[in-house]
Amino acid sequence: MTSGDALPRWLDLVVLPLVNLALALLVCGIVVLVVGLDPWQVLASLAKGAFGSRIGISYTLYYATTFVFTGLAVAVAFHGGLFNIGGEGQAMLGGIGTALVALALADRWPVWAVLPLMTIAAAAFGMAWAAIPAALQAWRGSHVVITTIMFNFIASALLSWLLIHVLKEPGNMTVESRSFGPGAHVPGVHELLAVLGIEWPRSPLNLSVALAALSAVLVYLLVWRTRPGYTLRAVGFAPEAARYAGIRPRAQVMFSMLLSGALAGFVGINEVAGVQGRLLLDYVVGAGFAGIAVSLIGRNHPMGIVLAALLFGALYQGGAELAFEIPGFSRDMVFTLQGLIVLFSGAMAQVAAPTLARAWFAIERRMAPRPVHG
């Protein structure tokens, strides 16, 4: 009668994801075997690439930072009962906001003044981009899934137009803005550690990682500890019950989508200001969509999202190493691995649950003292 609900929390939240990951790796192993490579070697290279060196760890964390932002964006909307597929476009707009502030101020203003402004701009631009689909959903009932997808295309076009017609430096052949001034430099983690006297190799990992961690904590507090979070979840789970309780669903749609857009917009800080130092095309490269998988695997909980983002970061970084290290292991194989992990840990996350539940109850029954029948 009851299946998933009856599982103890630790089994549901810890063991089940690990079982899923193991299943995914098992199938990956078979695929690798089929193409004639040694699964152990591939796994070892992958792990070594992602975690085997300080530079590897740095890259993994850098990728994870972006995935935390987009994953949280999906989760916040999800708790409000909305499926925000527009992380991609909102992240692009976040980058545009970041770049506009940087181009306007970074030549004259110091870092400590520009950095907060860039962060605010990234959030505000992401928010604005989410606000239109949100309003269409709230007042006109246009499904937010459709409109956010459309807005991804529009964002992409907007970015190209801005770069080609407005921001491109005259005389530069590549489609990109001029480099930001020194005020827009987001301190790298290696620079921060150097101040503390710790030597750390140079990498794209920057202060944005702290913003990601802070965002995860704040999202947790907001969703589960505050009144806005309470009403958000009430609307997400049961819109009718929320209306009965005097909660205005429209305001909640706006709130969750704006917050979602702001989180996606933070990607701009990490990628545009933190790494590139200029605005260019394709700095989001699917991170918005990966956020959906990250949120799914992380069960829409900030803690889970951080872990899932780390997994994805490791796959990106380890996968890049892998393609480099093992001849014959192409980039496509890396995508296959990632796809399998998404499949098992996300889409089929509950497939193993009934078996696990049966196993658990069998163990529990054996361990529990038999009830005495009179």
Partner: protein
């Protein structure tokens, strides 16, 4: 009789789910060609037992014999092959298919549908003629009224050769007339030799229809007898395990001249498709009275309740409440309603009353979550929410007494008690209640009725919408009857008889209202 093997013989059936023993050595003998009632409170194990007989669950132990032959039922296909059919409480129909195609679904013998359809139609017409189950075969299921959908479900089972029919709470969704029509059909099926197992918690249905009755409590059979040898009181006592009183309590003093707490004038409302749902409805609620709103479901009662709770803005009319006057231009909203001490127990507790995925202590402040006790500068006060929920659960006997489990995991009766606890706890001046005991156990009904009476005795005004006439008659001091959006009559309780109410409810034949 002893020479005829029972249609169904269950012996020593055991079934447990995790730590819960649902069936603890259950024996059940059902004579062929009889109507056998199975009653018990929610969680007594009657649904589990029927699931085992129908092959949806497998027993941990015990044996099943059908018409004297030992049977191994591992799947509902096995059950169907043995001539067992089941009509579930929630219909298993494809809404967009025609009635005919629904019957065929899963029983189509080949790929060629038109030929199959023609043969099935002929067979069904014969069946309908024999059984009196009339269904429009070509209408899409979504167009059929509930009673007809149910007839279709029964027809579906008979088409598959069911000689033993299990009906799970068949009357839960039916109007009194539909119920009476169903019972007439079941009696007719019985004379044709069909054995019927009727799961219900409505005791008057047991008395009215069945030949024998089995009472279950906590996974065991506690009473098994011929219906003629028992009474409703005896059955209720066996179900609950103690004496229960469901009739009218000694009448309190009705203060006819008490101040009106809420007055609605000429409420009128049309829905989106232009149907008038509320038509010149006026009413007043005075302190210290329970006003019952009777009527066949769908005659404007729900809309009336919503309008008074601020969930629906009427097109016309006015509402006076706590010295304030509301017109459609600036109607009451749910938050203001609560501020003005109007509490609302909604008709649909699962859709509205609770956020099902919330844990109990989260749902237990729903609607009151903005009060300073629960919300300080935006931070939800989990400790206060939890403590208050524990206290509510204690006072309203919500079981299991665990504020940390999800609302969806409570039984219907306990969900209802939780909603009622939340709405009654702030001591509202006006309480609006929709279907206070729909799908609720007898023990809980008695309890809920007691709390509503206590509210009245404390000087609150209670407006109760109920489709159960028994409930109206047991609780109300004054009764409004609604028919097609209008108040078709208002009677003091002393003038209320089932026949009188039935006439006002708009039945051609008032006797049809009476279930017995």
């Amino acid at each position: 009789m002893a020479s005829v093997a029972p249609a169904v013989a269950l012996r020593g059936i055991r079934k447990r789910f995790g730590a819960v023993v649902a069936n603890d050595g259950v024996d059940l003998m059902v004579a062929a060609g009889s109507v056998h009632g199975i009653v018990g409170e929610n969680g007594a194990g009657k649904s589990t037992l029927m699931s085992i007989l129908y092959g949806l669950q497998r027993a941990d132990g015990g044996s099943i014999a059908v018409h004297g032959t030992p049977a191994l039922i591992r799947h509902s296909r096995d059950a169907m092959r043995l001539g067992i059919g089941m009509v579930h409480q929630h219909f298993m129909l494809v809404d967009t298919f025609s009635a005919l195609d629904n019957v065929l679904l899963g029983a189509e013998p080949g790929w060629h549908l038109p030929g199959t359809r023609a043969r099935a139609r002929a067979k069904l017409q014969a069946l309908m003629h024999d059984s009196g189950l009339q269904v429009r075969l070509d209408a899409a299921v979504e167009e059929l009224p509930v009673g007809e959908r149910q007839r279709l479900e029964i027809l579906k089972a008979l088409y598959r050769g069911a000689r033993i029919l299990i009906l799970d709470e068949p009357t839960a969704v039916l109007t009194p007339q539909e119920t009476e029509a169903l019972f007439a059909t079941l009696r007719r099926l019985r004379t044709r030799g069909t054995t019927i197992l009727l799961i219900t918690h409505k005791l008057r249905e047991i008395i009215a229809l069945t030949d024998a009755v089995t009472v279950m409590r906590a996974g065991r059979v506690v009473l098994d007898c011929a219906t003629a040898d028992t009474t409703m009181d005896a059955l209720a006592q066996a179900m609950v395990g103690r004496r229960v009183h469901l009739g009218r309590a000694d009448d309190g003093v009705i203060a006819a001249d008490a101040e009106p707490l809420l007055q609605a004038e000429q409420l009128r409302w049309r829905d989106a498709s232009g149907v008038t749902r509320l038509d010149d409805v006026s009413l007043s609620l005075r302190a210290g009275e329970i006003v019952g709103v009777a009527g066949v479901a769908g005659n404007g009662q729900s809309e009336l309740l919503d309008a008074l709770a601020g969930l629906l803005v009427p097109d016309h009319g006015e509402l006076r409440l706590a010295g304030r006057r509301f017109t459609p231009a600036a109607w009451l909203d749910p938050t203001t309603a609560r501020e003005l001490s109007v509490a609302h127990v909604p008709e649909d507790r699962q859709l509205r009353g609770l956020v099902l995925p919330f844990v109990a202590w989260e749902s237990a402040v729903l609607g009151y979550h903005t009060r300073p006790r629960y919300d300080q500068h935006g931070w939800m006060q989990h400790r206060a929410m939890f403590d208050d929920t524990v206290a509510m659960m204690e006072r309203f006997d919500v079981r299991p007494r665990n504020a940390r489990i999800r609302c969806a995991q409570f039984s219907g009766g306990n969900q209802q008690k939780l909603v009622l606890a939340r709405e009654v706890s702030p001591h509202p001046r006006v309480l609006l209640v929709g279907q206070p005991t729909r799908g609720v156990d007898i023990g809980a009904i008695e309890f809920i009725h007691g709390r509503l009476r206590a509210m009245r005795d404390d000087g609150s005004a209670v407006l109760m919408v109920s489709s159960e006439l028994d409930e109206i008659l047991a609780l109300a001091d004054r009764v409004l009857v609604m028919n097609r959006g209008r108040v078709s009559g208002e009677l003091p309780i002393t003038a209320c008889t089932e026949a009188a109410l039935g006439r006002l409810m708009g039945d051609a034949d008032p006797a049809a209202v009476v279930c017995a």
